[in-house]
């Protein structure tokens, strides 16, 4: 699939995927630098705000950047007991556990299904993939109510599992994994079959190692869906002990109205940073894997 790019400079340069700087790129920098700076503002603000001492949080006129950074907001956040006497560390623990299990399980469920759809032959194969492709346009918020009723009927309301189970079937994830596996050569699998390998062995020893970029991509998508999820805690969970950190963050500003506004704002900023940072770190670590998966994302 890699093309010989060094051949492409002969006739007319398309300018696509250049190897170095060229004056023609200046106009793009002129657009992209201000735009990127603008898009970065809220994120810089999260970082700056989280480390502001109280007098800066409530200074007039307000200052965008922190002058004397402090960790006070973070210590306040973890020292605080929520209105229903649940410590913040509990929400964080729930989030970490829920996210970890969701990422592992959705990678497992998605990759086994993609293996069957890509490399196995069975009668319902094309039908099932077609259904999944239609489900790419599934908008979960549209069916909030029937989903609620089903979760209620299954007895999942107010349980730990309601954080995980509904998030596992990810049509986009299965789609990307299957497309990626389609590009893997079949010869290796056939050779393994001749050597007497079972499907499980083929899946584990051949498919999984070769699909790593796609698995990383699905892991990121599952991570983002789970770690940032507010709705599950808000709708399906009553027990404060079972709610997650992202939900706690969203409730911080509403419960700390009035006298506690200054402290509440600082803690909310610190909590926003805690929610945002893992997303950023994981994506930076895995971004090259994501891009190579996206090459196979086409919908035909």
């Amino acid at each position: 699939m890699r093309r010989k790019r060094w051949l492409s400079y002969s006739l007319r340069d398309s300018g696509m995927n250049p190897r170095g700087f060229h004056p023609s790129q200046i106009k793009f920098y002129l657009v992209l630098v201000p735009l990127a700076a603008f898009m970065l503002l809220p994120i810089v603000f999260i970082f700056s705000h989280a480390f502001k001492p109280p007098e800066e949080l409530f200074a007039y006129p307000p200052r965008f950047f922190v002058v004397r950074p402090t960790l006070k907001n973070f210590t306040d956040l973890f020292a605080r007991i929520s209105t229903s006497e649940v410590p913040v560390s509990r929400y964080l623990f729930n989030s970490v556990l829920v996210t970890l299990l969701t990422v592992l399980a959705s990678v497992g469920v998605g990759s086994t299904a993609a293996f069957a759809l890509s490399k196995k032959r069975f009668r319902l194969k094309n039908t099932l993939f077609a259904i999944n492709t239609v489900a790419l346009m599934f908008v979960p918020v549209a069916v909030t109510i029937p989903r609620f009723l089903i979760i209620q009927q299954l007895g999942l309301l107010n349980t730990f599992w309601v954080h995980i189970l509904p998030a596992l079937a990810m049509p986009v994830g299965l789609f990307l994994l299957k497309q990626f596996m389609d590009a893997l050569p079949n010869e290796m699998i056939e050779a393994a079959q001749i050597d007497g390998a079972s499907d499980l062995q083929i899946y584990w020893h051949i498919i999984l190692p070769l699909t790593r970029p796609a698995l990383a991509t699905i892991a990121i998508l599952a991570f983002q869906a789970s770690w940032n999820n507010v709705d599950t805690s808000a709708m399906y969970i009553n027990d404060e002990q079972l709610k997650t950190f992202a939900f706690y963050l969203s409730s911080l500003t509403s419960t700390t109205a009035g006298a506690n506004l200054v402290a509440g704002q600082g803690m909310a900023a610190a909590a926003s940073l805690i929610v945002f940072l893992p997303n950023l770190i994981i994506f930076i670590l895995l971004q090259s894997q994501v891009m190579s998966t996206m090459s196979h994302s086409g919908l035909k």
Partner: protein, 304 residues
């Protein structure tokens, strides 16, 4: 004869059993949390259901009420949803394409940095970050935007950004666009980088002379599958982002229904008024809108 047929069937079944085993966990979860809810929404939309007594069939009544008597739906929710979806969906999509097109023409390192910056807001989305927006758009003179505009003498008094009907929708659209450079944007960027450079040369020989012609005649046709994937993601994102108005203003309904979208209308009827049958009918309308947009995207980019 029959036994032979049966043994053949069982042999085939045994051969396929492993494939079904691999797909079963996904299929079961898909059925429970995606397929059945969609089907249930459709069925419930023909009933009266208050979640206490079993659903009672009432035919098309919900739809008739929705189209003829639901003043709020017709006056606020539907126009708001269309305005929001068109600006955030196709608007965000065109923006994502243009940004990807510019990034594809930069060397690898700056490209990666810009892609990371543009993608990072979509990691958390608008709703989880509502707290940050509430601080930036805070309505008193201490709000960051207010203070900034006051210091420039652009406004005379602080503005209640998130509580005033004339600004809420604009802010919702900006916030959602800000966080909309997601998977679809990355897919289009990757697709663009994978286009064979020889196509551009061939195009030049055939008389393609400007960048604009290049986009229309070479770039877009060569990456139709990614264009379609990006379009589907943009459409889903636009409708999925519907809860942002409630998250920003802190109330459902939003102030004077200014930011009320169809998703909020569903929650309003389903969870605040317990008219689940009616809410299901609204859900079906929403799913049909998504379907309609997707048909359009398919018409534009499907290869055949």
């Amino acid at each position: 004869m029959q036994t032979e047929w049966r043994s053949q069937l069982s042999r085939q079944w045994r051969k396929e059993a492993s494939a079904y085993g691999f797909i079963a966990p996904y299929a079961v979860l898909f059925a429970i949390f995606i397929a059945i809810p969609v089907l249930a929404a459709f069925l419930l939309s023909f009933t009266f259901f208050d979640s206490i007594q079993p659903p009672q069939f009432n035919g098309l009544l919900n739809y008739i009420v929705l189209l003829t008597q639901d003043d709020i739906f017709m006056r606020y929710v539907l126009p708001n949803t269309i305005q929001f979806a068109v600006l955030v969906g196709p608007g965000g999509y065109v923006l994502a394409f243009l940004l990807a097109w510019m990034l594809a023409q930069l060397p690898r390192t700056p490209r990666t940095i810009f892609a990371l910056i543009l993608y990072s807001p979509s990691m958390t989305g608008g709703v989880a970050m509502a707290v940050v927006w509430q601080t930036l758009f805070s309505g008193d003179q201490n709000g960051y935007l207010n203070s900034f505009l006051l210091s420039l003498n652009l406004i005379q008094a602080p503005i209640q950004w998130l509580q005033s009907p004339e600004y809420l929708m604009t802010i919702m659209i900006i916030v959602t666009l800000w966080s909309s450079m997601g998977v679809g944007f990355l897919a289009m960027l990757a697709g663009m980088l994978d286009i064979n450079p020889e196509l551009y040369e061939a195009g030049a020989l055939d008389g393609v002379s400007s960048r604009w012609q290049e986009i229309i005649y070479i770039t877009i046709p060569s990456m139709k599958p990614q264009m379609l994937f990006g379009a589907v993601m943009a459409i889903v994102g636009a409708f999925q982002a519907g809860t942002i108005g409630v998250a920003l203003s802190g109330s459902n309904p939003t102030p004077q229904y200014a930011g009320q979208l169809i998703v909020n209308h569903i929650e309003d009827y389903g969870f605040l008024r317990y008219e689940m049958g009616y809410a299901a009918a609204v859900s079906v309308v929403l799913l049909l809108m998504v379907l309609l947009f997707n048909r359009l995207a398919n018409r534009l980019f499907r290869e055949d």
